[in-house]
């Protein structure tokens, strides 16, 4: 009796996890299939791709969220293009840090004009991804 149940518990583990691993693979294939309609990848220009590199190279996600993922210290940026527009974003990055005493500070990254445009292009593209209408409002 106890022999039997021990075997069946092991089989439940191997069978169950293998089965659901393949379900995950299947769903992943399906996701990949239809994704281009939602992510608008045709709009990922070299400039957008460059913008993502700048986003990563400066670890922006270490303070901000993007589509709700990242750190919770500073505002959501997945929709910042809609909230603030391109000129505000560039001006903001250039004028950091504010140096206001006691306030949270964002570093100065010394980005060139071309890099600023790339970051803006990346954030604009991100904002256009169809992500089920998240966040709930423009404040992020």
């Amino acid at each position: 009796m106890s022999r039997f149940t021990q075997n069946s518990s092991r089989n439940l583990f191997y069978g169950g996890s293998l089965f659901f691993f393949f379900v995950l693979i299947g769903l992943t294939f399906d996701t990949m299939g239809g994704l281009s309609k939602r992510d608008h990848r045709e709009n990922i220009t070299p400039q957008v791709a460059h913008g993502k590199r700048i986003w990563e190279a400066n670890n922006c996600v270490g303070c901000h969220t993007i589509m709700g993922e990242g750190a919770y210290f500073a505002p959501e940026l997945g929709n910042v293009y809609a909230r603030r527009g391109p000129d505000f974003i560039k001006g903001w990055i250039q004028s950091q840090p504010t140096g206001v005493k006691g306030r949270r500070q964002m570093p100065q990254f010394h980005l060139t004009e071309e890099e600023l445009d790339a970051i803006v292009a990346f954030l604009k593209w991100t904002g256009e991804i169809n992500n089920a209408k998240w966040p709930p409002n423009v404040e992020g």
């Binding site: 518990s9 439940l12 169950g16 691993f21 992510d39 993502k52 993922e69 500073a74």
Partner: protein
Amino acid sequence: MNYSSQSVAKLYFIAAIGLFVGQILFGLILGTQYVIGDFLFPAIPFNVARMVHSNLLIVWLLFGFMGSAYFLVPEEAERELYSPLLAKILFWVFLVAGALTIVGYLSVPYATLTKITGDDLLPTMGREFLEQPTITKIGIVIVALGFLFNIGMTILKGRKTSISLVLLTGLVGLAVFFLFSFYNPENLVLDKYFWWWVVHLWVEGVWELILGAILAFILIKLTGVDREVIDKWLYVIIAMSLITGLIGTGHHFYWIGTPEYWQIWGSVFSALEPIPFFMMAVFAFNMVNKRRREHPNEVATLWALGTSIMSFLGAGVWGFLHTLAPVNYYTHGTQITAAHGHMAFYGAYVMIVLSMISYAMPLLRGKAICNGRKSQTLEKWAFWLMTISMVFITLFLTGAGILQVWLQRIAETPMSFMETQDQIAIFYWLRLISGLFFLVGLVVYIKSFFVKNDEFVPT
């Protein structure tokens, strides 16, 4: 300790505890910056402190897992470790690589670090938790391969038990899913999708196998309950972990551009994810109640039972709280997430490593069976101080999160992010104070290793 090669575990455990201290100090810097925004700025910007905090956490847990494996596997396999020398070499490689990475974070701007480490050749940096330079990531893979080889050969040449096989499966899975950290496409949606194959499939997948195996090992040692019974529980628990957790990954695919059917798949399966954690708690208490011996290492039993409860609370209850898509729509990426992340990591993975250290370290230090009364009492104090502080950290962050969601996302005239942060500052102060108590607990924990003339005397 039955095999002399188990002693390599000691190095790993000492490093783990040292890095744990670093993690908490940087946690306190973060907590301070939450309320005094320009604290240590520009020397240590928030993002830098955060990388140090989270990466130290992951690295010390990995040291803890490896140390646990080096202690556990020879005992289960009933033979010496395949190569204690390799274990020692890999230890130093991993420690030096880890230390250099942290020094890199702290000494140059991150953009400089990406440049000097050649991130443009194979860009993998600048993503949450995966901030390490690409060369560090490659180093991690090499260390993992050497480690798996060492452990695998030991098991292969010795007795094969369920516990060591489950542990090995979990560790192999850890290494395999880490490989997704090298995939960083230009398309942010794809990037995010497979980023979760590292992060979610670790903590809600293969790491649960490691957790289950270590817990089962400790319970066998402490309670003397039949291996047959324990094995059966172990397999059912980890079966439930993967059955629910694999598709449960979908709870991260609601709002990142992936198809909307994930809201259903993710909600249904992740809502079942608390089951294995619940079973683990029932398992641990059952085994301790059915114990066939009174093991004098009381504090190790306390840690093991504590792990089972706190992981259920942090992962199970706090995970369930925000996992259903209609709830997550409002809570996604708020302090609720941070609350859950803290209690889940602490309750499951910090506590299981500390449980193993509590059981193994006295043996590794040449004690006959366990520490004496004085050091055990201190360690119990540390257990309660750290655990209760973590409960408070979680509660205060949850309070902050609920208000944040209300003010910023639900109220009729929503406040901006920064205005909202000002409104909830009191919770951040309270979290910081709780964090200081956590540090006190950690200091007491370390003191418990240095109690003099405190041999265990059987009564």
